[in-house]
């Protein structure tokens, strides 16, 4: 499979109590297209830092990141990279509280999409419907929805921009087991049927066991600990 995201010699550290604390140490790794990755690691290992760097929310001290062969800082630009190439799903959903579910989904489209507002609305309703949010709920202010529903809205928003790379930070952390499984199923569907690359940072065994590739962040480096092949797919 082709590489979608390539990390080369990424370093990240910060000063803590007068000592330099190294989080990412000359980290290199390649993520392939159409795969569902889970990044595991103990608390404080730098999973969230890694996610923020590869999603363009933060920059590494040194090293290069390439999206489909283009440097995300020098060639694409972080702002464009965030807007056109990736989507992020957060543990706390990060929906805008005064907008409806449908409007939150449209929010992502408005930054990338040239379709007419009417068409965008239709796409938003369809996406939400696909994730079990019917029109009556889609028209509600998001704070009136349950946690699971809000997370589904957040995933729908991530998909609305029609990007190839989706990051998720503990997306099922606040959800019950049944909903968690639903969300994992969606991620699998997205990667296997729609060719999206999903990179999920998680502590959850349930999530990691159902991913294509489990990657462990340890000692500032990424190590593949299990692949689809290992799991016998």
């Amino acid at each position: 499979m082709a590489s979608i995201l390539k990390l080369e010699n990424i370093n990240y550290s910060y000063i803590d109590g007068g000592y330099e604390r190294v989080i990412l140490d000359d980290l290199s790794y390649e993520f392939e297209e159409g795969k569902f990755y889970t990044v595991l690691g103990p608390s404080g290992s730098g999973k969230t830092t890694l996610l923020s760097i590869i999603s363009g929310l933060d920059t590494a001290k040194s090293g290069e990141i390439y999206f489909k062969g283009q440097n995300i800082v020098r060639e694409l630009g972080l702002h464009k990279y965030r807007r056109n190439c990736i989507s992020i799903v957060f543990q706390s959903y990060n929906l805008i509280s005064y907008l409806t579910a449908m409007e939150n989904v449209m929010l992502a489209m408005s930054e990338t999409d040239n379709r007419l507002p009417k068409d965008r609305k239709t796409v938003a309703y369809n996406l939400l419907k696909r994730f079990g949010i019917v029109k009556t709920k889609a028209d509600r202010i998001v704070t009136q929805l349950s946690g699971g529903e809000q997370q589904r809205v957040a995933i729908a928003r991530a998909l609305a921009s029609n990007v190839d790379l989706i990051f998720a930070d503990e997306p099922t952390g606040n959800l019950d087991t049944a909903t968690e499984k639903e969300i994992i199923a969606i991620f699998n569907e997205l990667s296997h049927e729609f060719g999206k690359t999903i990179i999920v940072v998680t502590h959850s065994d349930t999530v990691s066991e159902l991913s294509d590739e489990r990657v462990l962040l340890k000692g500032g480096k990424l190590h593949t600990i299990a692949t689809v092949k290992d799991k016998g797919f």
Partner: protein, 538 residues
């Protein structure tokens, strides 16, 4: 969904916050409207009152300055020198002023009292007052001559006021006080030539059965010891003038006037005769020359230096130099140009002459309005500054609670400028609503507040005692063309109205407040890192 839509949704869905902000802007708007309304009303009242006043500037010798300077001179010779070259207004200056587009017309006046000829061929218009009864034309007058001998001679009352100008047209005729009923006013050519022409009153023409084209005989003096000594004959004093125009006037000298009973014939505006200054000068030339000759031959008794200098002898050649302009008044086209006009020329004037716009009384009367305007402006600025501070703080505090939303927007690729624009539009929407409501209520409140404050200002000033110059009689010597105004005139023009201009100003000011208020939060937003916001939230 673009930032404008988001802004609208934020305002409409977070309505409790929006209502509070609308209320804040409403209160700010009311204070600003009151301030602007009152300040504007004060300015308008001043402008309207100034427009009501004549656009008159007087060019004159500043005698206060002259006397003060003379007091400071200790050397006798220097003082004599100053006397001989006594400050006076110059015709060439008036000509220069007249060339200015802002000047409509100029009066460079000289006046004298004249008599009918020996035959009494021209009768004056009678007032039939007590003075006429008691004086009955002449009386004996005694005085001491230069040798200390008492001399008594018959005094003849002058009948006519000769009002002369160096320019065609006069302010009196320009502003409607006097009007040519028949014929015309004298022209520049007649002034240059000193043609014997005059303009008389309708009543004088009726009294003497005169019409345009007729000739009258006037005497610029009468036979007295003084004229006899100089060998001046009645013929030297008498001159004929062609009546080229007849005027009417609306002068208030009537039996109801306070000075009516003791007014002299020449005080009667009907007995005023207008003619060019040069014509009056030439009419007096023979007597002036004879008087000069007599004085030069008797120099011991008179100012010998002056009369010894042949160049000072009155003649046609030195006519322009010898015509003594008592005062010059300029009528400008626009009363609002008066101050600028004075400012433009005051630097060019010599030390002892001034251009006086007669603004002192106006400025004094306008003081309560100025104070009111100053306070109103002060309030506006105070409110605007406070508004900026308050709204900035509110927005900055709101930002803290909206960090998360900003993080989301930035993480989905919205630019920071669009986030700032959204905040600006949100504030602008509530500001427009708040100010629109304030326009309605403010226009009602500002009228009442403005009236109350003005009332207080007037009551607390001492202007009421000083005002009320009211001349109800005709003053033949007066060349004061300024319009007397009272505080009532100013107050009558004072009306607080919220004009479209003020409404426009308020909206511009409101948007400026919003814009400035967004600047500080904008700096905060520009510093925001989506990672920090979102990771912290998570």
């Amino acid at each position: 969904m673009n930032f404008i839509n988001r802004a609208i949704k934020n305002v409409t869905r977070k309505y409790s916050k929006s209502i509070l902000l609308v209320l804040t802007f409403f209160l700010i708007g009311n204070l600003v409207i009151i301030g602007l309304g009152v300040s504007n009303a004060s300015k308008s009242a001043k402008i309207l009152t100034r427009k009501k006043m004549r656009a008159v500037v007087t060019y004159k010798v500043d005698y206060e300055k002259v006397w003060a300077y003379m007091d400071s001179i200790e050397d006798e010779d220097e003082r004599d020198k100053f006397y001989k070259d006594f400050p006076s207004i110059k015709l060439e200056d008036v000509v220069q002023f007249l060339a200015d587009d802002r000047v409509k017309i100029a009066n460079a006046l000289s006046s004298s009292m004249w008599y009918a000829d020996e035959k009494g061929s021209l009768d004056f218009v009678h007032l039939n007052n007590k003075r006429e009864e008691e004086m009955s034309g002449s009386s004996e007058q005694c005085y001491y001559d230069e040798t200390g001998t008492q001399v008594c001679e018959t005094y003849r009352e002058p009948y006519f006021m000769i009002r002369c100008n160096m320019f065609p047209g006069m302010i009196e005729f320009e502003d409607g006080g006097y009007r040519i009923k028949e014929g015309r006013f004298y022209n520049q050519e007649e002034i240059n030539e000193g043609d014997p022409v005059c303009v008389i009153s309708e009543n004088l023409s009726i009294t003497n059965g005169l019409g345009v084209g007729d000739v009258i005989t006037l005497s610029c003096g009468y036979s007295s010891l003084d004229t006899q000594r100089a060998g001046i004959t009645a013929e030297d004093l008498e001159n004929t003038f062609e009546v080229i125009g007849i005027y009417t006037h609306n002068s208030p000298l009537t039996p109801d006037s306070s000075n009516f009973e003791w007014a002299s014939p020449y005080s009667n505006p009907d007995n005023m005769i207008f003619m060019p200054s040069t014509s009056a000068y030439l009419a007096q030339l023979t007597s002036l020359q004879k008087r000069f000759d007599y004085y030069s031959q008797n120099q011991n008794n008179y100012d010998g230096d002056y009369y010894l200098d042949e160049d000072n002898r009155p003649s046609e050649e030195n006519m322009m130099k010898n015509i003594d302009i008592e005062n010059a008044t300029l009528l400008l086209n626009d009363p609002l140009d008066v101050d600028d006009f004075v400012d433009d020329y005051k630097g060019d004037l010599s030390q002892f002459v001034v251009l006086d716009a007669n603004n002192e009384e106006f400025k004094k009367l306008a003081k309560p309005l100025d104070t009111l305007s100053m306070y109103a402006n002060f309030i506006v600025w105070l409110v605007v500054i406070n508004a900026v501070v308050i709204i900035s703080l509110v927005t900055a505090l709101t930002l803290k609670t909206r960090e998360y939303e900003i993080g989301v927007l930035l993480s989905i690729g919205a630019s920071k400028l669009k986030v700032i624009a959204q905040f600006f539009i949100e504030l602008a929407i509530v500001a427009i609503i708040g100010f629109s409501l304030a326009v309605i209520s403010g226009s009602l409140i500002s009228k009442k507040v403005g009236a109350k404050v003005l009332e207080y200002q007037i009551a607390s000033s001492d202007l009421n005692e000083d005002q009320g110059y009211s001349y109800d009689y005709f003053d033949p010597w007066s060349a004061d063309y300024t319009t007397e105004i009272s505080l009532d005139d100013l107050v009558a023009e004072y009306e607080v109205t919220i004009s479209p201009l003020i409404i426009g100003e308020i909206y511009i000011m409101g948007l400026a407040i919003v814009l400035i208020s967004v600047i500080i939060p904008s700096f905060m937003i520009m510093r925001y890192n989506p990672k920090k916001i979102l990771m912290n939230t998570n």
